[in-house]
C-alpha cells in the first residue's frame, strides 16, 4: 500500500474487521459496504440495498478479480455486484449495471485505490475459503465451499499469473510447463499430444529461434478461466486460457476483445453492458473467431475443458477513446474497409 493514512483519509480506509460471526467467518467493512458469509451464502450490504450470492460463486468470482488485478473494464460477480477498473483506482459497485436497481435508487458505487481493494478482497477470500475448496479449479477437482468455517487454502489463492514479455519459452521469459515444475497435464486434456517443435538453430542464433507447443502448455494449466499472456506484439497480447464449467464472472470490457476457440466448444451469453438486457448467444467451435464489443458483458459456458485464445489490445488509450465515442464499441470493419 502507498502512504495512505486511514485517519486522514477515511474514504480510502482499508478493510475493517468486524469480528467473527456464529458460522465462524469474518465480517468485514469496506467503505460503506459490509461483507458477511454464512454456510451457503455471501451477503453484501450497502446503504441502499443488500444482495446474496452462493458462497462458491462468490469465492470463484472474487478469486478471478484478485488474480487478474481487476482485469480490463468491469468484472461483474453477477448481475448486481462487481468492480470497474480505472487502472490505479477501482470502483466497487452494487446495482450499477442493473436497470432495476438504478431506477429504484439502489445502485451504489465507491472508489478506492487499487491496492486497498486488492488487499481487502484477498483478506475476505482468505477468511471465507475453507480447507477443501479451491475456487480456481473445475468443480470436479475441488471439495465443497459450504458449511461452517473449516481451515483455509492460502496456496490456492496465491497462484502466480503468467505474463510473458515476449513469448513463453524465450530466453529469460516465462518457462514452459512440465511435470518437474509442478504442471502435470490436466486429466481432461490427457489426450493432448505433448510433442515439442524441432528447433535447429545455426551457431549464434539459439536465442532467436523460439517455439513451443501452446496446446501442450495449455493442457498443463492447473486452473480455469485465467487468461495469461503467452506472446506480445507491442500492445497486442495473446492471452489463452483453459475453460471448464462457467466463467465465474460476467466480463464487461472497456475495449473490444476477441475470442478464438482453439479446441472444443463454448457458448457465450451476451448482455448489454450497462443494463443487463439480453443481446445474443454466441456458439464457438474449434477455429471460430468472434469479437466481443465494448458495450456488452459476456459469460461463457464450457461443457468440457476447452482452450480459448483471448486476444487483447492493452493500449491505455482505448477506454477513453471508446467511452468518448471517438472509437465505436464494435470493430469498425464494415464502414472502413
Amino acid at each position: 500500500m502507498t502512504q495512505l493514512s486511514t485517519s486522514d483519509l477515511p474514504a480510502v480506509a482499508g478493510l475493517v474487521d468486524h469480528g467473527t460471526n456464529d458460522h465462524g467467518y469474518g465480517v468485514f467493512g469496506l467503505g460503506s459496504f459490509t461483507f458477511e458469509r454464512d454456510e451457503y451464502f455471501a451477503t453484501v450490504r450497502w446503504p441502499s440495498g443488500h444482495h446474496r450470492i452462493s458462497a462458491d460463486d462468490f469465492l470463484r468470482a472474487i478469486q478471478r478479480d484478485i488474480a487478474w488485478e481487476f482485469f480490463y473494464g468491469t468484472v461483474n460477480f453477477d448481475g448486481v455486484l462487481g468492480t470497474v477498473n480505472h487502472y490505479g483506482r477501482v470502483d466497487v459497485c452494487a446495482g450499477r449495471f442493473s436497470k432495476e436497481h438504478q431506477a429504484a435508487g439502489m445502485a451504489h458505487t465507491e472508489t478506492f485505490p487499487t491496492e486497498v481493494v486488492a488487499e481487502a478482497f484477498l483478506t475476505i477470500a482468505d477468511d471465507w475459503t475453507n480447507e477443501g475448496f479451491d475456487p480456481f479449479v473445475a468443480p470436479r477437482e475441488t471439495g465443497s465451499a459450504f458449511g461452517r468455517k473449516n481451515g483455509s487454502n492460502p496456496e490456492a489463492l496465491r497462484r502466480r499469473r503468467v505474463t510473458a514479455e515476449r513469448m513463453v519459452g524465450a530466453p529469460g521469459d516465462e518457462p514452459l510447463r512440465t511435470d518437474d515444475n509442478g504442471h502435470p497435464v490436466n486429466a481432461a486434456f490427457s489426450d493432448v499430444p505433448q510433442d515439442e517443435p524441432v528447433v535447429r538453430a545455426e551457431a549464434g542464433f539459439a536465442d532467436e529461434l523460439v517455439a513451443f507447443n501452446l496446446f501442450a502448455y495449455l493442457s498443463r494449466s492447473p486452473v480455469t478461466f485465467n487468461p495469461s499472456v503467452v506472446s506480445a506484439c507491442r500492445d497486442s497480447l495473446a492471452c489463452p486460457t483453459t475453460e471448464e464449467y462457467i466463467l465465474p464472472i460476467i466480463h464487461g470490457n472497456d475495449r473490444v476483445e476477441w475470442f478464438i476457440q482453439l479446441s472444443d466448444e463454448m457458448v457465450w451469453e451476451i448482455e448489454d453492458g450497462a443494463t443487463g438486457a439480453k443481446r445474443a448467444t454466441v456458439v464457438m467451435k474449434a477455429g471460430d473467431v468472434s469479437a466481443m464489443p465494448a458495450d456488452i458483458r459476456h459469460q461463457g459456458y464450457s461443457p468440457k475443458r476447452s482452450m480459448l485464445l483471448v486476444w487483447e489490445n492493452a493500449s491505455t488509450q482505448l477506454p477513453d477513446l471508446i467511452a468518448s465515442g471517438t472509437l465505436p464499441s464494435h470493430p469498425d470493419v464494415w464502414s472502413a474497409r
Binding site: 489426450d191 493432448v192 506484439c233 497486442s236 470493430p331
Partner: protein, 180 residues
C-alpha cells in the same frame, strides 16, 4: 486435492473426463455462430479460421481479427511460401498440419524500423541462415523482428499470425463473416 498430483496422467486410450479433446482442421471444422436476441450479428465479426484459410488462395494472409493496428491473420500453407520480413516480432500458431519454418538473418534490415506488418519477398533475401523450426498443430513460433522467414508445409497447413496490419494483410470481412 488436485495439487497433490505431480505427474501427468498416462496418455492412453481412456476417454478424458468430459470426453475427447476436439481440434478443428482444414478437412473438418464445424462452426457455431451468433444467435441474435437484440443485436446486429455484424458487431461480432464472426468467422472460422479454417474456413477462411480454405477459401483463400495459398498464403493469402486474411485478417480474421483486428484491434486498431493489430491483426490476427489466417492463411493456408500449400507448397513453399514466399519470404516475409517485419520490423517487429510476429508470432505464428500452427492450427492444422505440419510446416518447416526457415529463418534467415538478412545482411541489412529489409524493412524500415517504423514499418507495420509483414513485407513479402519473392527471392531468398541475402544474409545468413538462422536455422529451421519444424512445427505441428498447436505449436507457436516466434518470427523475430527483422528476420526473414518462409514456410514449407508437409502437405497443407493452417497458420494463424499475430502481427500488425500491413501491406500483406487482406481484408475480406464481407466474404468471411456472418452478416445476418
Amino acid at each position: 486435492m488436485s495439487s497433490t498430483q505431480l505427474t501427468s496422467p498416462p496418455q492412453t486410450a481412456i476417454v478424458p473426463p468430459g470426453g475427447p479433446t476436439t481440434f478443428g482442421s482444414l478437412a473438418h471444422h464445424p462452426s457455431g455462430g451468433v444467435q441474435v436476441i437484440d443485436d446486429d450479428p455484424r458487431h461480432y465479426v464472426f468467422s472460422n479460421v479454417f474456413a477462411v484459410a480454405k477459401a483463400g488462395a495459398p498464403y493469402l494472409r486474411t485478417a480474421v481479427a483486428i484491434n486498431q493496428e493489430y491483426v490476427l491473420e489466417a492463411t493456408r500453407a500449400e507448397g513453399p511460401s514466399p519470404w516475409w520480413s517485419a520490423a517487429h516480432d510476429e508470432f505464428v500458431l500452427v492450427m492444422d498440419g505440419r510446416v518447416t519454418v526457415w529463418l534467415r538473418k538478412p545482411t541489412a534490415p529489409l524493412v524500415e524500423p517504423d514499418h507495420d506488418g509483414a513485407v513479402v519477398f519473392t527471392a531468398e533475401p541475402e544474409g545468413v541462415p538462422m536455422g529451421t523450426i519444424e512445427a505441428g498443430r498447436g505449436h507457436m513460433v516466434l518470427l523475430p523482428a527483422h528476420s526473414a522467414y518462409r514456410f514449407v508445409p508437409e502437405t497443407s497447413a493452417v497458420l494463424l499470425f499475430q502481427t500488425v496490419a500491413g501491406p500483406q494483410t487482406e481484408f475480406r470481412w464481407n466474404e468471411i463473416c456472418q452478416t445476418s
